[in-house]
Amino acid sequence: MHLPSGFFLDHAWLIPLIPAVSFWLILGFGKRFGARAAYCGIAALSAVWVLAVGAVIQWIHRVNVADDGKGGTVSALGAFGRSLARAEEGKSAAVAPVIHATTWFQNAGVKLTVGTQIDGLAVMMLFVVATIALLVHIYSFEYMRGDRRFTHYYAALSLFSASMLFLVVASNTLQLLVGWELVGLCSFMLIGHWWEEKPNSDAALKAFLTTRTGDIGLLCGVIMTFFVVQRATGTGSFDILAVNNAALSGKVGHTLLLMCAVGLMFGIIGKSGQFPLHTWLPDAMAGPTPVSALIHAATMVVAGVYLGARVYPIFWQGFQIGNSHVNFMAVIGGITVIIGAGLAFVQDDIKKVLAYSTISQLGYMVMGLGVGAWTAAIFHLFTHAFFKANLFLGAGSVSHSGSHHSFDMKKDMGGLRKYMPQTFWTFVIGTGALAGIFPLAGFWSKDEILATAGHGNYKAFLIVGLVGAFMTAAYMTRCIYLTFFGEYRGGHSGEHAHGDVAHGVDDAHVHGVDDAHAVPGFGSHDDGHGAHEPHESPPLITVPLWILTFLSITAGWLQFEPGLHLTKFRDWFQPRVAFPLPGLFSANHVATIPDVKFSAGLATISVAIALAGVGLAYLFYWKRAYGQDAAAHNALLGAGKKFLVNKYYLDALYTDGVIAAVKGPIANAAYWVNQYVIDNVLRTTGRVATVVARFVYRYIDQRGVDGIYNGTAVVTGESGGLLRKLQNGRLQEYALFILIGVAAVALALAIRF
């Protein structure tokens, strides 16, 4: 059957190209653009958004036609959102991805391609990345107004979007790796945007180096994907479809798949902030807040989860997810859920609360992949992107207009509910979605992960998930209490909090604002930064917030199972080829991915647990049911708090354990080896080389080579001297020679005949 493709699916290469062009434009004409650099970025992202939505619609059309079983008779728009009979009939029609690739280079049978592979996962990610990036671009116009490197900021933002989109459409793992590294580079540039402050540039370096640590494993894993395909088909390839088919073909040894999966998993651990390499993510809050929203919702950290979903069969087979009780991926995810949520309790910085919350939620996603809940994990990625972007931009709004560019909840916030009602309500709805309250977005995706974990062999991870849900609800309630309730604690009689050196990271934003008038195009810089009273943010900030709030409410309804029987997310976006589905690879003894139905009982339990978390936090903070400061009076609580405040001593372990070891003994040993071993080897080599060279010069070069040339010249000269005697200028002798020559020729002819 012919499946319809379409312009947007066939021309997906345009999607990363447009923001990349915008990047070069802003970089090249930044000085002349001034504030208009923002228009360039926003225009590029708007175009990308249109292309992404077009791709989503055409993909859904393709899926619908495949399920109908007849050729493209339905118009693209008419097909959008049509309900399907697929799930009930049990058998799903295969929908091949739209792949366009061109040869990059070719050498001795190894052919590397570059191209686009567009399937459900890719179009879903395109939509998420395009939407969030567009909103962040718009939001930043107000938030970054007057920054001294405004154009540089927009250039980096454009490149960031371009890199992530490039990663999403990549048709092979090597190309994916390129996008992956570009994303890392851009996050380095943006986290260190205010690099004049030492903590900011340190945070940027930490983010870069920590993710690079994981990338070592990733690189090994990507290289191994090539050999996985070679083992299965005889010809190596990096193409994602080929890799996935090879992993499920049953022809590849388990050891190779396991090593490949572990390698790729290290990449995910680094990029997606999983335990134990999560420590860079909270420090990355040093960057501007819209960037944090972008990093945490749509780009950078979800790249790891995306990789896990993209080459899922490698993990599925490598970790034996289908038929084991526990595996590396699920354990890492589970640990991350708990430690991230624990750390979020003791943060005073609102952005750090959200950062640890992201770590915890990424843990949910990785755990979801680890327990076989592919659809649920990706669904959670989808919903989380919207409500987490909503929360981050809300925190930015609070800092921008409410707390004089501080992010410290205890010192500079409190009681902001009255001053910023719009920010307050969007933040509360985002929190509800994050905590998994029915019927907001987070409820549906989190519940699906829990349902799958409880359905299969992974009951232990169901408990982990429920504990995580409880903690999430509690720390987010604390965060709302500290920010929006109580008395306003900020506004030290009009003095901007920027002067307070102790804040370091939090206040970095301000130093850009101080230079407002140095930036061309910002003649009318007057948005009330000097005002002493907190106030609501302007529409450029609140409108993106409301859009994200709308998505935070509705994004989950794609899987509205109770009553409505909607499973749109799975129908549209779950791969139908090269995926462990029933009937596809049954001959190869591949376990199939579980198809779990919505469970009302489990959903009730999880909502009840979340509400319990909210309630407990309410008692703790509003009612002071446990005294003013429980941690100060209770030794156990105090010790626990100290442990958390010190981030489980992981940073200390890395700095004092790993880095000090590298700096001290290992560096000394390296120095010794350098001085005594390598230098001696080099010196000896040099001496031997001198002796050999002298010999070569004297005997081979001077006598051999030069002898040949000089000899040739001498012989030529001597013979020339002999022959010149013939050239005596006597005409008659020449005539004689001619005569003799002719006579000789005549004689020769006469003898011959």
Binding site: L723, R724, K725, L726, Q727, N728, G729, R730, L731, Q732, A735, L736, L739
Partner: protein, 99 residues
């Protein structure tokens, strides 16, 4: 009349011409000797043409005569110029290209 008689006469004429070309000390006589060699060749051509009933031999002889006349014209002009420059007509004095 036998063909050999003509050929022997031609050979004799050619040999006399060649000897003259090589030994004469006067450039004009060298040119005259060259004419003698050409005459020998013409004699051969005519003789072969007559004995083979082929007019081509005579045609060739006429061509050679024409070209010989032109050659002598050019040759005498060169000799005249050499004499003007060197005040000598001995070919041995013209040895500027001596090796």
């Amino acid at each position: 009349m036998a063909l050999n008689q003509f050929l022997l006469l031609a050979a004799f004429l050619f040999a006399v011409g060649a000897y003259g070309v090589i030994t004469r000390r006067h450039t004009v006589l060298v040119l005259a000797s060259v004419e003698l060699m050409l005459t020998a060749v013409n004699l051969n051509l005519v003789a072969f043409g007559a004995f083979n009933n082929d007019p081509v031999g005579q045609v060739f002889a006429l061509f050679v005569l024409t070209i010989a006349a032109a050659e002598v014209g050019v040759g005498l002009a060169i000799v005249l110029l050499i004499y003007r420059n060197l005040r000598s007509s001995d070919p041995d004095d013209v040895d500027v290209l001596k090796g």
